[in-house]
Symmetry: C2
Subunit: 424 residues, 2 copies
């Protein structure tokens, strides 16, 4: 039996594009893990009529579950609790226990920030109003959440700040009305294949060939280009294992040159794993720290990353990485020769086992006919003398070129660390 | 007269949270600039019924304009053109001119990637089908867009890849049906104030005080916390200038300690401007390159950024920044003393006019009672001997701590470069 859900995200700042919504995708991933099918994510402003229309739309679409985020603050334009109560035909009642909890939170908050306690408390009594028969969820910030059962549909009401929303997710789905609903959902099974260097149309062709031999209709297959890699996501329910395995095997075989992950592991995780017990040094020019930032995004990166020299100026390339100024003069700062010297410098200065360098023209200025914007030279070296060099011309704008350069560097690290050699 | 718009984003990968939607917010910002009021952004999957329901919802909400993104590819699950034609009650017709354009694009594409030309062409004839009476927009990739006038509502149909969508925006809004609609919209006026170090509730209090003296009802005021800063966005239409100025003046005066931008300029742009003609060196530990990546995000950063030493290991701090190992042993790598030595090292190694350093505990491991996760030491130095040091405990997870640390470093740069001294 399938459970259908919709997500309603409120907030003018999301609607007008100033802040990008992090809650919709997060909730959607959590629901998918629980086997719930998310059919729409609707962002609306803080107006009563828009919020009412959003809930009515979800009901008209036959949703079993609606999750809302935002609009639970203390000010008058925070309307979600009230509108959901109206939608469910329930009166709002003051939850005195909750009022005391919020008051206690606000007292410490007010003291720390030296605010007027009484003004805060009055403004926040509003947040302790709970629809009759609903379950209040303890706040992670100051706003409590709600689980409101209505006619044939359960509404989970959560606050907008992502940290608060995430902290309140588990308690919300543990409430009885949500538990009862989730008992009807069959969790999805699935896996993700990741490839680099093959166009989406080739994946589509492989999928058609596999489909000629095997019935794939029980699988939900999504192909998407994500940060320069191709991700093929396969989801299915109990009983479709054979078709799923046929697809995994068929696609892996046809795209073996390009496949680098068949169990969902990301390139970042693959590289982090390969670096265990080794020491990495980086030398960056056009990526300007992005590569180091990407690698240090992983907790525990200090175990293998010694550091990065972001050598943006030519002087820094010479002073901090020991690149011969004459080499730069002869070949230009963006050249395979300088990339190799930067990698050698990083290997030495960081006393590293492996190093990778990036120097390129991220634009928008600085391109020439011979070396256009997007021309990037990369070199990966190991202390054992392995070397891998690439100098692609990467399409797109400055941001694309910088991000893609860091990605290529990650894949070159994977390769010199022993993880196959697909084309880049 | 106001023009109301809705945005429909299609794509399973957006709906299931694997890819975050970049088109909805971008379209929303463009429409706002044109004076169009965006009331909802709806993400749905690639199913016919969901897409039909999305368009019906937009009509029920009285929208004058709907912009769709995605679902224009060559495969069978790309349904947008067909569903929009059905919604408008129009037949799809083959646009032969468009078919030739797409064929020409595909030929060069197929040659470059060595694909089967004929198979591609057949699959892509589908993309040349245009509803009768609609205007086709030339492709920026391979998929043409559409402008489809329907009963009282204009639908702009654009492809999903952000680069293509953005390139096709101007031609789409220049078509006659959209021009006619936009002629009825009054563009918004407005400004943005940016503050750091004051809680949202204090802004709300200032706004209430200003409202006691001036009628602000003609203004749309949005306060939001964005990447650690508070942004107050004020929008209004002709005639509300006096109220808008009263708000700008009143809020600037009340929050003068915290205000750093009253004309919408970002901290990145303020720092970039202040750095003109100077030379910056960075020394990063816990931010791991994020600060350098943020600064080099700006085109032209090579004019003032010499580089960054991302000294993740203690050896790198000593070897590349000249930090005395005994200083690290005595105070720990995360200490105001080491932060000061790192900044001094960056100043010297990069021969810089100004340097800033960051060393901290980003977690999740590595915290102690005395130096908890989130404890970050920063130091900004100028060659003239100005010094500014901070050592906040930053709340949140690893990502929050790293991002906020980079933000604090940006504001410290602003301050040592002469831009006031609000508390951080």
């Amino acid at each position: 039996m399938s459970v259908r859900a919709g997500i309603v995200v409120t907030g003018t700042e999301v609607l007008n594009g100033r802040v990008s919504d992090r809650n919709g995708p997060w909730i959607s991933e959590r629901l998918a893990e629980l086997g719930v099918e998310v059919s729409s994510i609707l962002c609306v402003g803080d107006r009563r009529s828009d919020l009412e229309a959003a809930l009515a739309f979800m009901r008209s679409q036959g949703m079993d579950l609606v999750v809302t985020s935002g609009g639970l603050g203390p000010t008058a334009d925070d309307l979600t609790a009230e509108v959901v109560a109206g939608f469910a035909g329930l009166e709002l009642e003051l939850d005195e226990g909750m009022e005391q909890k919020i008051a206690a939170i606000l007292r410490s908050f007010a003291r720390r920030l030296r605010l007027d306690e009484e003004a805060l408390r009055v403004a926040n009594r509003k947040q302790a109003m709970v629809p009759a028969g609903a379950t209040a969820i303890d706040p992670a910030g100051t706003a409590p959440g709600l689980v409101v059962p209505t006619d044939g549909l359960v509404v989970i009401v959560l606050p907008g700040p992502p940290r608060e929303l995430r902290a309140m997710w588990e308690p919300a789905i543990a409430t009885e009305p949500v538990r009862d609903l989730l008992a009807r959902a069959t969790p999805f099974l699935g896996f993700t294949l990741r490839m680099i260097g093959t166009p989406e149309s080739e994946i589509a062709k492989s999928l058609r060939e596999i489909e000629d031999e095997t019935d794939l209709s029980a699988l939900e297959v999504t192909t998407c280009l994500r940060r320069g890699e191709i991700e093929v996501d396969v989801r299915y329910r109990d009983g479709a294992e054979a078709a799923a395995e046929a697809l995994r095997e068929g696609l892996s075989r046809r795209q073996s040159r390009y496949l680098f992950s068949s169990d969902g592991e990301t390139i970042d995780s693959i590289v982090a794993r390969a670096l265990r017990g080794r020491r990495l040094g980086l030398a960056e020019s056009c990526t300007g720290g992005l590569l180091a930032a990407r690698i240090t995004d992983a907790p525990g990166a200090s175990e293998y990353l010694a550091g990065s020299v972001v050598a943006y100026s030519n002087e820094a390339k010479s002073e901090l990485l020991g690149v011969d100024p004459e080499l730069i003069a002869a070949h230009g700062a963006v050249s395979p020769e300088v990339a190799a010297a930067m990698a050698a410098g990083a290997l030495e200065r960081f006393d590293a086992d492996v190093a990778v360098s990036v120097t390129g023209i991220a634009g928008p200025e600085g391109g020439t006919e011979e070396k256009p914007v997007g021309y990037v030279c990369l070199c990966a070296l190991t202390a054992d003398g392995e070397e891998l060099a690439r100098d692609p011309v990467i399409p797109g704008g400055r941001e694309d070129i910088r991000e893609r350069s860091a990605l290529v560097a990650m894949h070159m690290l994977r390769i010199v660390l022993g993880g196959g050699e697909p084309p880049l």
